[in-house]
């Protein structure tokens, strides 16, 4: 369970941005958490109120976005949907694929109020 540590790290980044932009409060934080990121969105949401208490982000909305798991096949070139534990090409079934999306763990944007 490292979601609290991940959340605290995210908030340190958000606080740096808040100071840089000379803002008073944070109103919204948008984060992308893919199914293959190793972080559980529900636990991240639960950690947020605890980690943000007493900071300018205390009342902010934490919005979590999950991108679909998609792969591109190196054999046939197809781009298809996949599952976290089945990253085979959906067209030809080969395992020589590269992940296109689904492993994101990104702080996308922060909305601030001056």
């Amino acid at each position: 369970m490292h979601e609290l540590a991940v959340c605290q790290g995210m908030l340190r980044q958000v606080m740096d941005i808040t100071r840089r932009e000379q803002a008073r409060t944070v109103t919204r934080i948008l984060v992308q958490v893919g199914p293959l990121s190793g972080v559980e969105p529900r636990l991240l949401s639960q950690a947020f109120p605890i980690a943000s208490a007493g900071t300018p982000a205390a009342g902010a909305v934490l919005e979590l976005e999950s991108l679909p798991v998609r792969v591109r096949c190196e054999q046939c070139g197809a781009e298809t949907d996949a599952r976290p534990n089945r990253l085979l090409c959906g067209a030809c079934g080969d395992y020589h694929t590269r992940l296109l999306s689904g492993d994101e763990l990104l702080l996308v944007s922060v909305e601030l109020e001056r």
């Binding site: 998609r70 976290p84 590269r98 999306s101 994101e104 990104l106 702080l107 996308v108 601030l112």
Partner: protein, 281 residues
């Protein structure tokens, strides 16, 4: 993924950059700042620093991961016995409590530093950095980092190492790669440990374990061995020798190596635009 080359921009988020630019005003006068940095960027920066340390000292750093009790320490003991005269080996041990594993390694005449994580379920780049101050990298060829026994959390944290090695003991079930895809997808080598028990158990199919690994689009080699009984250790020892050679060749070229997942992400997205420059103060 990093925050400098644009590899963190995916088909799912590029519209955020291409649209209104990095800093956009919303209708009610609030400002929205586009960031697009890894949530673990603090850890990643420290990991990069650790990797530079290893490269400067000519050390190959290997992150050993598995469930508790898969035989990571036993594999290290057998490796030290086999290669102790060939390479200078050091070990960093991660456990929630006790110095037991570090003591087992020291008993083999090899320097070992124990990180006691308390309640933390994984090692991170900062913990490893603190431990590196207690070990002389100049006197090492290979540093093994034995991560906390856990098939979940250690997979998310880059430590600054060069290679991920994951152990799956034959007592655990051959479908573990399907159950823990984040862990097994990132491995550079899968070791099926305790292979001497295969016949006794009769229900672990090494071919099925490999199939589950391939389903994660992994090209990592798979090898079965028994560290305790000294069975089929040669493939593992040869893999290590080849990795030490490859690390020396990389350093001569001035290259470095990050574990299997990060460079893949970079290659995938390299044709896409880099984020807009930071707005001035």
């Amino acid at each position: 993924m990093c925050d400098t080359c644009g590899c963190n921009i995916t088909p799912g988020n590029r519209h955020l950059i291409l649209g209104q630019g990095k800093l956009a005003r919303t209708e009610d006068g609030r400002s929205a700042v586009t960031v697009l940095s890894r949530l673990l960027s603090e850890n990643d920066v420290q990991a990069l620093h650790n990797r530079r340390h290893f490269d400067q000292h000519g050390v190959l750093a290997i992150n050993l991961m598995s469930a508790p009790g898969s035989g990571k320490t036993a594999l290290l003991e057998a490796t030290i016995d086999a290669l102790g005269d060939e390479f200078r080996i050091g070990v960093v041990e991660g456990d929630l409590e006790t110095e037991n594993d570090a003591e087992r390694i020291r008993a083999r005449g090899v320097p070992a530093v124990q990180i006691v994580t308390g309640t933390a379920c994984h090692l991170d780049a900062h913990m490893l950095h603190d431990a590196l101050h207690r070990i002389d990298l100049d006197s090492l060829d290979i540093l093994f980092i034995e991560n906390v026994g856990n098939l979940v959390c250690p997979a998310s944290f880059d430590l600054g190492h060069h290679r991920n090695v994951t152990l799956l003991s034959v007592t655990e079930g051959d479908d573990k790669p399907a159950k823990y895809p984040v862990m097994f997808r990132g491995t550079d080598l899968l070791v099926l440990s305790k292979s001497d028990l295969l016949e006794i158990l009769g229900d672990f199919d090494p071919a099925a374990a490999e199939r589950h690994l391939r389903a994660l689009a992994s090209r990592a080699p798979v090898m079965a061995l028994s560290a305790r009984k000294g069975i089929e250790l040669d493939a593992w020892l040869d893999w290590l020798r080849a990795e030490v050679r490859a690390q020396r060749e990389r350093l001569e070229r001035g290259d470095s190596l990050t574990p299997v997942m990060q460079p893949e992400g970079a290659r995938l997205h390299e044709t896409q635009p880099a984020p807009a420059p930071e707005p001035g103060p």
